[in-house]
Amino acid sequence: SAVISQKPSRDICQRGTSLTIQCQVDSQVTMMFWYRQQPGQSLTLIATANQGSEATYESGFVIDKFPISRPNLTFSTLTVSNMSPEDSSIYLCSADNNEQFFGPGTRLTVL
């Protein structure tokens, strides 16, 4: 298994600002992913964070809005840019070590 931590655990932000979420894994993993989860809902994949190359985004998500970094095999960041209230959600990172394990999530509220 893999132990995953995320920072911050929660934040309240103003409209128009940006927030960067950090994800740290306790071991090297090939693949890391970022998901969004509306309260009480299931998970929607935002993008695959690729080490050494640009992230691969799912339909409906773009790099300008959700830039992602993956500088090494244990760390990734997701930025939510130019936020609006519609971006209020839980953001989760996961690490694929033959099975996928999830971080505790970052609960974002945009006012």
């Binding site: 992913f33 009480g40 994949l45 996928q100 971080g103």
Partner: protein, 114 residues
């Protein structure tokens, strides 16, 4: 488009009752995962099933993977209030050491009343 239909969406039962949650798809998955999530936390992996027809047991939880690897079920025997949570099934399309991105069902919100 790969879809994973999960049912029921909501389930409220009394302690001691049995229940089954279903996940169905027209796609074939390399593996299927079941997660449980509590409020304010990330999903926690319960089990991975890989082989068609596979049955795995985890105490009072029984997981089954369909023969064609397109569907799965989770059966809980004698449910307890501690089983309350959001149960998510997720199908994996990747092979060879990586699951690739997961296709998630919509989740089943289970409430077990004492």
């Amino acid at each position: 488009t790969q879809l994973l239909e999960q049912s029921p969406q909501f389930l409220s039962i009394q302690e001691g009752e049995n229940l089954t949650v279903y996940c169905n798809s027209s796609s074939v998955f390399s593996s299927l995962q079941w997660y449980r999530q509590e409020p304010g936390e990330g999903p926690v992996l319960l089990v991975t099933v890989v082989t068609g027809g596979e049955v795995k047991k985890l105490k009072r939880l029984t997981f089954q993977f369909g023969d064609a690897r397109k569907d799965s079920s989770l059966h809980i025997t004698a449910a307890q209030p501690g089983d309350t949570g959001l149960y998510l099934c997720a199908g994996a399309l990747g092979y060879g050491g990586s699951q690739g991105n997961l296709i998630f069902g919509k989740g089943t919100k289970l409430s077990v009343k004492p």
